[in-house]
Symmetry: C2
Subunit: 212 residues, 2 copies
Amino acid sequence: MTAGQASAAGGRGTALELAGGKREATKQANRAAILAAAREVFADIGFGAATVRDIVRRTELATGTFYNYFPDKQSVLVALVEESAGEARVRVRAARREARTPEAFVRDGFRAYFDYLLEDRTMSELLRRNAGTIRAMFDEPSLVAGADELAEDLRAAVEAGLVADHDVEYVAAAMVGAALEVGTRMLDGDPPDPERATEALAAVFIGGLRRS
Amino acid sequence: MTAGQASAAGGRGTALELAGGKREATKQANRAAILAAAREVFADIGFGAATVRDIVRRTELATGTFYNYFPDKQSVLVALVEESAGEARVRVRAARREARTPEAFVRDGFRAYFDYLLEDRTMSELLRRNAGTIRAMFDEPSLVAGADELAEDLRAAVEAGLVADHDVEYVAAAMVGAALEVGTRMLDGDPPDPERATEALAAVFIGGLRRS
DNA sequence: GGCAAACTTGACGGGGGCGTCACCTTCTGT
DNA sequence: ACAGAAGGTGACGCCCCCGTCAAGTTTGCC
């Protein structure tokens, strides 16, 4: 009655599709349960204050099991951030790539980001609450922000004559910072209105970026 | 030889001017030493991971002494934030108040903020690293950002016809977010160039805010 | 000079986190 | 059906933090 109940553990959907092995299914469920619990804990009390046991407690697993999946809490954060921030960046960039006008370039990028925020609120909260820690951890600050990619895209747009010639690096940072801040405001809205957030940013940045 | 050496403790300048009392001088020095140590600790490892003892260890004081000055680490953070973020807000607002043109309104506000960042790097680092925690702590998000004040000032400018009629609240958030992000980028520069940061933001926001 | 008030000190009991590991249950392959 | 591998379990030893408080030191004042 003590061991092996772990398969019923995960709060997330049963992942029994690929490779019918029960062993394998449990493994994925446990990993998912740990990640889900950690997402909540980091969002609620912050990474620094969180302990491995805080995470385990929101799970049906035992302490020792945690260490079969991750060596420490930091590794969990890394997994979480890579999974989620990576996805957000990909989507935003895809939206920008498909844009055919400078207006769409700006508007659709913001829009993709705001839509993504709304899809996983817990993750958004985690990112907001721990942005400073994440920055300090992966010293490449852009991992969080994707600002480098934006700067690159902006540079291309400037060279193509689509956009006025500004200080690309800082303008990219400004756009990212603005999106982060407006994004958290939007999430506080009831209901959140990504349309409004997008339009506000688009209005400001398009005007400022328009070819003079 | 064990007690009472605390007066020589503080790393900060001797504050013996007002009220020559030695007792009073020690008290101020100790308080200042704790605040200075806490600033470093919070900036280095983050508020959540910091312990009261981490702070005390960067001091010549004993554990017990800490509790004569603050009831817990959170109170220290509150004192630090009130002291510093308050000052930053005051300066920025003063700069905006003196502005006579819409351009100056935008440019001087950013400039005042960047100049302030450069004045106390440790505090800047603390704010950057713990922005999420601070937000969560004082649930009034604007305590960190001063975004409400900016929104107010913007509204007035719109009514005076100085600035185009945008979504004031989100535009304010965008300006604050942009300043935060560009500010941290600027601090990473060697040497930091507040002029460049100011111009980049001014170019973007003035264009966008200019009366169409 | 001398005494009371003010303050500092650091050891202490209680609490809890860390990572491990011997033991036990469950699954898999034959 | 069964044996062995895979993997879950939770108590354990070690460490450190918390907030307190009795004892000791310094200051202010008469």
